[in-house]
């Protein structure tokens, strides 16, 4: 395979302004693990970018650094022109963590209400928005349940509703649908796509599924591990007009093959003994 060119070609929307600019970012954890080395990436407003790569290649780490939750060792990250984490509109970011991360002492409603509460909204004002977010993920009937009463997939959906409830401009999702059944997953895929199109969101979506990344994104960033870095940057035009019929087209299968070949290339670098 010849796809392992060291410098990824630039991909994505060319006209729109740059929203996220990562320049030569490295991350070394306190225990010496180099999670990322020299990662550079520009993401423009309105893109739907998937991060794809083997486990441990630094996808979650990159996401956390973009949101400003994790510091980096060298390089620079700006979001909307501000250094990561220092944006005056911090609440414009929605984040779905890899784990559901719900407050066990609060009901599903209160969990989803939390971001709005932290913004100073009262329960009355926020009620409609919370209920809208809950029904979007199919949890309208579980508003009064506690997280321990939900299945793993339902918890994840509550966490997605919480990320959506503020109508963020930038949505960071870390394997949000990994624990879901095929039907729910496909429904939520369309939900996210719908939101992305109608609200002019920018989405970064971490996934292990080639099919999901091809179906959803306008651009797939393929990463490799040890050290974590970007090895491919694949543009998939036409994402904003796709329908579910896209899954039946040859374009879709071709793209899947392209991305999965690129992903296979990264596996050469993985030493499973370490």
């Amino acid at each position: 395979m010849n796809a392992a060119s060291p410098l990824p070609k630039a991909a994505g929307l060319t006209g729109a302004p740059v929203l996220i600019d990562m320049k030569d970012v490295s991350k070394r954890f306190a225990n010496g693990t180099v999670a990322l080395r020299g990662m550079s990436l520009q993401i423009r407003n309105g893109e739907f970018v998937s991060f794809l790569g083997p486990s441990g290649c630094g996808k979650s780490t990159a996401l956390k650094m973009i949101s400003g939750l994790l510091s980096f060792s060298s390089g620079s990250i700006t979001v909307n022109g501000h250094p990561a984490g220092e944006s005056p509109h911090g609440s414009d970011i929605g984040y779905v963590f890899q784990e559901a991360t719900l407050m066990p002492w609060a009901t599903v409603f209160e969990n989803v209400f939390l971001p709005l509460k932290l913004q100073g909204l009262g329960k009355g004002e926020a009620k409609a928005r919370v209920e809208e977010a809950l029904s979007m993920v199919g949890l309208a009937n579980f508003a009064r349940s506690y997280p321990r009463e939900l299945s793993g997939g339902m918890k994840m959906r509550a966490s997605i509703a919480r990320a959506m409830v503020t109508k963020p401009k930038l949505l960071l999702m870390d394997e949000p649908f990994a624990a879901l059944d095929e039907m729910t997953r496909s429904k939520l895929n369309d939900e996210v796509l719908g939101l992305w199109r109608s609200h002019g969101l920018t989405v970064i979506f971490v996934t292990h599924s080639v099919f999901e990344s091809v179906y959803l994104s306008s651009r797939v960033v393929v990463m490799a591990a040890r050290p974590g870095r970007v090895v491919h940057d694949i543009a998939l035009p036409g994402a904003d007009t796709r329908t579910s019929a896209y899954r039946m087209t040859s374009e879709y299968t071709d793209n899947c093959r392209l991305v999965s070949n690129a992903l296979e290339g990264t596996m050469d670098h993985v030493d499973l003994n370490h």
Partner: protein, 284 residues
């Protein structure tokens, strides 16, 4: 439609009924069994004392203890009220002090490093060894007793509050940071709820300890007279060889301890019952 459905009403009553019955039976047993076993032990005690003709100044029969309890009701109640006052006051102060200092510890590692050794020294030194000193330095006996009981009850609250406030899930912390929560919001909506299970566990321990502290301190003080607690009644009875009265006072101390335990357990269930693992009844 050719798909057969199961009538939910029938299915439910069939599946749930034996389980509900079993649960009801278990709940009844949980109340009845302790009562029955205590009554059995008392009966055996009564019988053995009567059968072996044990003199009442060695081991009084339960019936005699009950009689003494009724006879000396007013003086014993006065003492019990004193002990209750001492216990609850010291517990209250331990909660206030422990929570405030625990919050300070959670806020600043430096403060914790400076003050924690003193808290540990207070905790590991037996109260019975410090009590005489405190009684010398503090002229008001009630205050001296209060300080002793407070020292004993204070430590578990302090250390559990400090640990609890630090135990919030790190992803949840990240989330609060992402939404730019104010320090107050973080405390109110994240740190305090995360600390509650730790605090309630400490409260259960401190409740019992404050009673122990109150009784032990009074023993050391050895005070006599009107305005004294149950420990003084026990001492007094021992000097006068009034063993039934001693047992009666002892009985009241136990009742107090059980009462405190029941109240703190109930509180814990009230606060944590709907979400925390320790209070949730698992379905099997």
């Amino acid at each position: 439609m050719s798909i057969s459905t199961i009538d939910p009403a029938v299915a439910e009553s069939e599946i749930l009924d034996p389980r509900i019955l079993l649960e009801r039976r278990e709940r009844r047993l949980r109340v009845i069994m302790p009562i029955v076993s205590i009554l059995a032990v008392l009966g055996l005690w009564e019988f053995l004392v009567w059968y072996n003709e044990v003199p009442h100044y060695l081991i009084p029969a339960p019936s005699l203890i009950a009689k003494t309890l009724v006879q000396d009701w007013s003086s014993l109640m006065q003492s019990a009220a004193f002990t209750v006052k001492l216990t609850l006051l010291s517990l209250g102060l331990a909660i206030i002090g422990g929570v405030l200092l625990g919050m300070l510890f959670a806020l600043s590692r430096t403060v914790e490093m400076c003050l924690f050794p003193f808290a540990v020294i207070l905790q590991v030194t037996p109260i019975i060894a410090i009590a005489p000193l405190i009684l010398i330095y503090v002229s008001n006996t009630f205050f001296a007793l209060l300080i002793c009981a407070w020292i004993v009850a204070f430590f578990p609250i302090l250390s559990n509050t400090a640990i609890g406030l630090r135990s919030a899930d790190h992803n949840l912390r990240d989330m609060f940071r992402l939404y730019q929560a104010t320090p107050w919001q973080r405390l109110r909506h994240l740190l305090i709820p995360s600390a509650l299970p730790y605090f309630m566990a400490a409260l259960k321990i401190a409740g019992g300890l404050s009673l122990i502290g109150a009784v032990v301190a009074e023993f050391v003080a050895g005070t006599a007279g009107q305005n004294t607690g149950l420990a003084s009644r026990i001492l007094e009875s021992s000097f006068r060889n009034e063993i039934p009265r001693m047992f009666a006072a002892l009985f009241l101390v136990s009742v107090l301890g059980v009462g405190i335990f029941l109240v703190t357990s109930w509180l814990s269930h009230l606060v944590l019952g709907h979400w925390h693992e320790s209070e949730i009844k698992r379905e099997t």
